[in-house]
């Protein structure tokens, strides 16, 4: 931990103490405020502080502050090795107008791309909704889960590196068959900010068609399986000629494959997801594959076999104490200083990301125009614990082991890294 980290931690701890003690009481008072009458304003605080007018306009005010501490031998993005940094300072509003028009505006206070979700959603019926603006492309179970509700400090590598992320676009979505089926289909300007080039000369997908179908086949049963959800998703983008921005970076940003190879044609992103939360346990898994065409990129102008980035994760959690079930771990039954100690959840995740060619049709090479790309991979295991003091404050710890590459493969980096991470998160 760096020397400058200590004062920041003290400040964060002080804020947390104040919020742990004062916030619940304030929120309790506001929650008890009755709904507004016609033509009247009202102020409430349920999950978030909100104002409401005549039952026709409702605006929530949101803010999130995260501080991370990291002890690692990995050279991480922006910072090297051990460090503490304020990972996220985000504010936003969300609300509803006239019962059918929802909106959300969210902004990072310090980020090169400050605007997060900025969209409106028109909801004439539950089965047919229309969303426009900037929001997450419907791809990836974990990627489309709010960072406040994640089971681990970092999203899995496949979610961070391969899922699409946010972009500007329009989307039709809804839930059908008594919410058994969910669908989302939209058109976006590009293929998301996760794949957006941070360096000149890299390319990402152009106009993107994206869709996702989810099904909860046992939703209306009373069995433990009722929560089981499957989903499939895709994106399709045009891909200009260049080196792709999808690269091999570990959880903490260690580079293990630079994707210095020519691509052109179409980018196909395909994913399968499954989630199940029986009682205090939860299980989630995803498989994602991003395939980039390499049309006309051979040494003599021939097509090369596609460049493929693929990966998976399997994760499980167990609410040890303090919450009714895995889905509500962030809302402890008895918060700290309100007759309880909050809730405690343990989690484990195993994941893998591989970049290269699917078939070895030639000798493996790191050439930008290799038929069979000499790729690399990372396998990571994360053990996590999360203590939710109340619905607004959580303290998390993760122990991560990352294994990059294989010693037997020459020409690519291989590395073994242990990292310990801690996070204090305050969300209102």
């Amino acid at each position: 931990m760096t020397r400058t980290a200590a004062p920041i931690i003290v400040v964060l701890a002080a804020i947390a103490v104040v919020l742990v003690t004062a916030l619940p009481a304030a929120a309790q008072r506001l929650r008890e405020t009755p709904p507004p009458r016609d033509g009247e304003w009202n102020v409430r605080w349920d999950d978030h502080p909100e104002v409401e007018w005549s039952g026709r306009l409702r605006v929530e005010f949101r803010a999130r502050l995260q501080g991370d501490s990291r002890i690692s031998r990995a050279a991480v993005e922006r910072l090297d090795g051990d460090a503490f940094d304020v990972g996220r300072r985000r504010v936003g509003i969300a609300g509803e107008i006239g019962g059918t028009l929802e909106f959300q505006i969210e902004r990072e206070l310090e980020d090169s791309i400050p605007w997060r979700d900025v969209y409106v959603n028109y909801r004439p019926t539950r089965g047919l909704q229309f969303q426009a603006g900037q929001f997450k492309i419907p791809f990836g179970l974990e990627e489309t889960t709010s960072s406040a509700n994640l089971d681990f400090i970092y999203r899995s590598i496949v979610s961070t590196r391969l899922a699409a992320g946010r972009d500007r676009g329009t989307m039709l979505h809804g839930r059908l068959a008594s919410r058994v089926l969910g669908y989302e289909i939209g058109v976006f300007a590009h293929d998301g900010d996760n794949a957006r080039p941070k360096h000149a000369g890299r390319v990402s997908g152009g106009r993107t068609l994206a869709g996702r179908l989810t099904v909860e086949p046992l939703r209306h049963s009373k069995a433990a399986w009722s929560d089981l959800q499957f989903g499939v998703a895709f994106t399709r983008s045009s891909l200009p000629e260049g080196f792709p921005a999808v690269r091999g970076r570990s959880l903490l940003g260690v580079s293990f494959f630079d994707s210095d190879l020519w691509v052109k044609g179409m980018r196909r992103r395909d994913g399968v997801q499954v989630r199940w939360r029986p009682g205090p346990f939860s299980f989630a898994s995803e498989v994602i594959r991003v395939t980039d065409d390499r049309r006309g990129q051979g040494r003599s102008g021939t097509d090369l076999q596609p460049f493929v980035a693929r990966g998976w994760y399997v994760s499980g959690t167990w609410v040890v104490a303090g919450a009714a079930d895995a889905a509500s771990v962030g809302r402890p039954v008895r918060p700290l200083f309100q007759g309880g100690l909050g809730s405690l959840q343990l989690a484990v995740r195993r994941e893998r990301l591989t970049l290269g060619s699917l078939r070895v049709t030639d000798s493996l090479s790191s050439s930008p125009r290799a038929e069979a790309v000499l790729g690399n991979s990372e396998t990571a295991t994360t053990l996590g614990a999360a203590w939710h003091l109340n619905r607004w404050i959580a303290i998390e710890g993760n122990l991560i082991h990352e294994a990059i590459g294989a010693p037997s493969v020459t020409g690519t980096p291989h590395l073994r890294i242990w990292s310990r991470l801690f996070r204090v998160q305050v969300s209102i």
């Binding site: 000629e241 020519w262 990129q297 051979g298 040494r299 003599s300 102008g301 030639d362 000798s363 493996l364 090479s365 790191s366 050439s367 930008p368 125009r369 290799a370 038929e371 000499l374 020459t410 020409g411």
Partner: protein, 405 residues
Amino acid sequence: MRTIATGCVMRLALVAIAWISAIGVAIAAPTLDDLFADNVVHDVRLSVNERDLRELRDRYLENVYFPADFEWRGERVRNAGVRSRGLASRNATKLGLRIDFNRYSTGQRFLGLASLVLDNLVTDPALVRERVSMQLFARLGQPAPREAFARVFINGAYEGIYAIVEPVDADFLARVVGEKSGYLFERRFLQPYYGEDLGKDPAAYRTVFEPRTHELEVDTVLYSPIRELFREANQPVDTVWRERVGRYVDLRQLVTHVAIETFLSESDGILGFAGMANFYLYRGPVGDQHRLIVWDKDRTFAAIDSPVLLRADENRLFSRALAFSDLRSLYFDVLERCARLAAADGWLEGEIARLGALIDSAAREDRRKPYDDEVRVTDMEFLRQFARQRPQFVLQDVAQLRGRR
């Protein structure tokens, strides 16, 4: 019965033919000796993506690698790395090229070589200076890269006549020195250097000599012996100069190397017009002594009457070495040996003529060379004249200098 016997004989004959053919194929597998055969103009074919080729020509002043397939005599190396090379010879029209077979595929080699140089010969109108010069170095027992002529085709289009040059690298060292674990430096031409003492910081010599082995070692390890060499060389010539400098450079080899260059009237060598140029320094894994390795002789044959002590006083190291009578005598001896060797049976003129005839057709078809074919023919005639007259001039000049002493 007869039919059966005939069938057996036929089958046996077929098996024998197949066996002999297999042996023949095995025997015909090309070797490095085939690649550097001195009586052939090879065909070398490169396949480079058209976009990469455009960029290679556009960025010919940079050392940017592009993937290429290399083919010679049906031997194909895929995913080699190719880049523009050379100093004065860098050229966008007729690219000077370096091929690194292991650039993108660790351990990939071609006939045991990790890399090859395709010298575009654009600074030599006669196209044979480099080749003949290296032959003379080799004949005088100095380690020199092997070379051969080749017609180079890129994506099927004729790029021109080139010299395939064996790079000075670990493989070369293993061949000529017998080991490759020492420290190899290439003269890096950023500015003229005449052997001055660059001061206490070993890193100052990084601007003069670029490491080609042990690249990751610290400057102290790499350059301290070089710093000591030039520090000692710049001391006054006294009774201990020879011993101190001799600890860091093989003075007899240095003098021999310079003498051969001088005979060849090399304008861009150790005593070049812009200071020391076109050589490698090699220091073995044990001890601090360096030796010189010849490189890039495309500016030899400058003038028939070039004096044998031309610019000898400009170089701090060489000028002081010549102050020692045995080294001065060795210098003259080597010059005389060169002259006699060149003149014996018209060897030098014969080689120039032979190589000129060998490449004549390929050179005439070379539309990318920066001069027309008349210039080549005229220059070739000058080289033959040089071969006839230079030995006599050198012998006379040396005799006069010896007499003067």
